[in-house]
């Protein structure tokens, strides 16, 4: 029987899924990804997760729970740093233990420890070690990892061109382009798990698209441009996503090609609590771009979210119309 590996559809999955899925599938494992977040799953997670955790972590608890009885192993990678200069939020680093101690009867957890800042814990060495644990020879694992990395890079390249993977969001761009009613460009930034989990953000991205706007995300900004913005800032941001969010946000601001900027964040996110003030400050300095920060917490209801987003989109449209008549 093939070994079945469960991957919670949570947190870094929304960025690294091509890498993970390809790696395990290439090795011939049966991979089961938990269903997209839904109410019951999330509430079940809240029951087990401590209150001091942020919502995305609590949701990860829910996803792990649904996989509990269906898989032989749970894959919860411990990604501390993938780029030498930056790291991820420490909560993700402690997630395997948090899950293990809070949820009874979990299957064994595969938790490759990846910290590119230190020797001996690089992505390849940790993944090969994990493969060894599953009884895979390292030559085989090496080949799969190579393919996995390629798949990931291809995914990144595609998203950079604006072609977001349907796994993340179903964009109905083509039909829209033909209609020639596109007026506004809206950039959305935030941690990938805030952006691409429609349950978390009450389908905010879809709502923006439906308002006939061009949706831009941080994935569409090249690393070089991000580096440039961060360099101009004069402070090296040490969080991988914080850096990307701020760099992309600033790039869109400075490019002058967007009408609105939205920051999606969750309550008690330590990274966003520092990055958001920096970004919103720059928006104020610039003075022309409309900006909206949406913080989702456990009390946020669909109604409140929609109202705020619609008001924001409305304002942009009115502004555009006003400018047109002025001209």
């Amino acid at each position: 029987m093939t070994i079945r590996i469960g991957i919670p559809r949570a947190l870094l999955y929304y960025r690294y899924f091509p890498l993970w899925l390809t790696f395990f599938k290439e090795l011939g494992f049966d991979v089961l990804v938990s269903n997209p977040s839904h109410r019951e799953l999330v509430e079940e997670g809240f029951r087990y997760a401590d209150d001091d955790n942020c919502i995305p972590i609590k949701m990860a608890f829910g996803h792990a729970l649904t996989l509990r009885d269906q898989v032989d192993f749970l894959f919860v990678p411990r990604l501390l740093s993938l780029e030498r200069k930056s790291c991820f939020c420490p909560r993700t680093g402690g997630l395997p233990e948090m899950l293990r101690y809070s949820i009874p009867n979990l299957p064994p957890i595969l938790d490759p420890y990846v910290d590119e800042r230190h020797r001996g814990s690089s992505l390849s060495s940790s993944f090969l070690e994990m493969a060894k644990r599953l009884g895979i020879r390292s030559i085989e694992a090496k080949g799969s990892l190579k393919k996995a990395i390629n798949a990931y890079q291809e995914f990144r390249e595609k998203s950079r061109r604006g072609d977001l993977n349907p796994e993340l969001i179903s964009v109905r761009r083509k039909e829209r382009f033909s209609q020639d009613v596109l007026e506004k460009k809206i950039a959305v930034v935030g941690h990938p798990y805030c952006l691409y989990d429609p349950f978390f953000n009450f389908n905010a991205l879809r709502l923006i698209e439906d308002s006939k706007a061009i949706l831009l995300t941080q994935e569409m900004v090249s690393p070089e441009k991000i580096d440039l913005e961060i360099e101009r800032l004069g402070k090296d941001i040490y969080w991988t996503f914080g850096r990307e969010i701020l760099g992309a946000g600033l790039h869109y601001l400075h490019s002058g090609q967007i009408d609105g900027l939205i920051y999606l964040t969750c309550f008690s996110c330590g990274v966003d609590s520092m990055i958001e003030p920096l970004l919103s400050h720059k928006v104020k300095e610039g003075g022309t771009t409309l900006y909206l920060c949406i913080m989702v917490d456990e009390h946020t209801g669909a109604g409140g979210m929609t109202t705020r987003l619609e008001a924001f989109l409305e304002t942009i449209e009115r502004r555009k119309r006003f400018h047109r008549t002025q001209r």
């Binding site: 001091d52 790291c87 420490p90 402690g94 948090m98 809070s102 008690s268 330590g270 520092m274």
Partner: protein, 368 residues
């Protein structure tokens, strides 16, 4: 240069001593008060952690007092303290203050410290000997402050008249602050021991011992943790804490290799529960209660600022440690909304729980 630093424990006593002897001139913010916190809350982004709010308040009050330079530590994550510098500078400039900001990077290399030290020394044009002497005095003062704190931890649960220990502690810290040289410091030391000795004590009491662990700023600063050490002491509990400034300095300099209760050994003790070091005080918060159990500390209190990324992980894992090592652990996620009544009720119930536990254990021992 009029240099301001945030209030962290008794750091101001050490820096003040160095500043008076060889410079720079320090402008310490007024003692952290309700006003400090109110200012911090008013001007901080609402979702930042409590230390940010306190420290920002300190800086505002120091700038009001005439400081023109701010020194603040910084590091490379993953804790958000490394980002304080940019965000705070931005807020303070928006408020219209003019100042120079010095970020002190968290580098763990000896040579770097020495180089930096030499550069600064030459800038101020003071002899090496004089500088070393000033540093020595500052260090000794800090050590003595912590000795006084430890004395207070031990004596407070035994005091007969409530508040006497706290009064003596304040008096001793003042004596230490006022000492101008090693000789006077020695005198202050003798005087402190004498003063503590003179406190009327009920030596028949056998206080419960509780360890205070958690995020460093919250653990070190009485203003941030609602004076939990004093409150517990007055309930008849002997406390100690996991974070001390001298220990932080020696850890940063790599001088704590052989200390049995160093952060290093606490991280080691946490290994079975959290395999990798995540940074900050996360791992040591987990490891310390295990270490201190050997010293007779039967329970622990974890303090974290609400929203702290690292300590939230520790909190999850401490549940397991508590179960396996039979150490009751009480956690406070502190923010500006946590009322004193709530803290007191919980502390009271926790102490009652520990007392009953001890009685039960005694009975159990007698029976067997």
């Amino acid at each position: 240069m009029k240099l301001a630093v945030p209030h962290i424990g008794n750091l101001n006593i050490m820096l003040g001593a160095i500043g008076r002897l060889v410079g720079p001139e320090f402008v310490f913010p007024p003692k952290t008060s309700q006003r400090t916190l109110s200012l911090g809350i008013k001007y901080s982004p609402s979702s930042t952690c409590l230390p940010f709010k306190f420290i920002l308040g300190n800086f505002i009050e120091a700038l009001e007092k005439g400081a023109d330079t701010i020194a603040m530590v910084s590091d490379h994550g993953p804790c958000r303290v490394g980002m304080y510098d940019v965000v705070m500078q931005q807020i303070l400039r928006d408020l219209g203050f003019n100042f120079t900001w010095i970020s002190m990077d968290d580098t763990r290399l000896w040579s770097h410290y020495v180089q930096r030290f030499n550069k600064e020394r030459k800038k101020w044009d003071v002899s090496l000997l004089k500088t070393l002497r000033a540093l020595h005095l500052g260090w000794r003062k800090l050590r003595l402050c912590e000795k006084v704190e430890r004395l207070a931890h031990r004596v407070r649960p035994l005091e007969i008249e409530r508040g006497e220990t706290t009064r003596v502690e304040l008096q001793c810290l003042r004596l230490i602050d006022e000492a101008e040289n090693l000789k006077q410091l020695q005198k202050a030391c003798d005087e402190s021991v004498y003063l503590f000795d003179r406190i009327k004590k009920d030596s028949k009491r056998r206080p419960i011992k509780v360890l205070i662990t958690g995020e460093g700023y919250m653990v070190i600063n009485p203003h941030a943790n609602q004076e939990i050490e004093r409150k517990l002491g007055e309930m008849g509990v002997e406390v100690t804490r996991t974070v001390w400034i001298t220990q932080k300095i020696s850890h940063a300099l790599g001088l704590d290799l052989f200390h049995p209760r160093s952060k290093r050994s606490a991280i080691k003790a946490s290994k079975p529960y959290l395999r990798y070091n995540l940074g900050g005080e996360c791992n040591s918060s987990i490891g310390y209660p295990i270490l201190f159990k050997k010293d007779g500390y039967e329970a622990a209190i974890q303090l974290l600022p609400l929203g702290c990324m690292l300590e939230a992980v520790a909190k999850n894992i401490l549940v397991k440690v508590s179960r396996e090592h039979d150490i009751p652990i009480l956690t406070f996620s502190l923010d500006e909304n946590l009322s004193e009544t709530m803290v007191m009720t919980r502390l009271g119930a926790f102490v009652d729980l520990l007392q009953k536990r001890r009685e039960r254990k005694k009975i159990g021992r007698r029976e067997s």
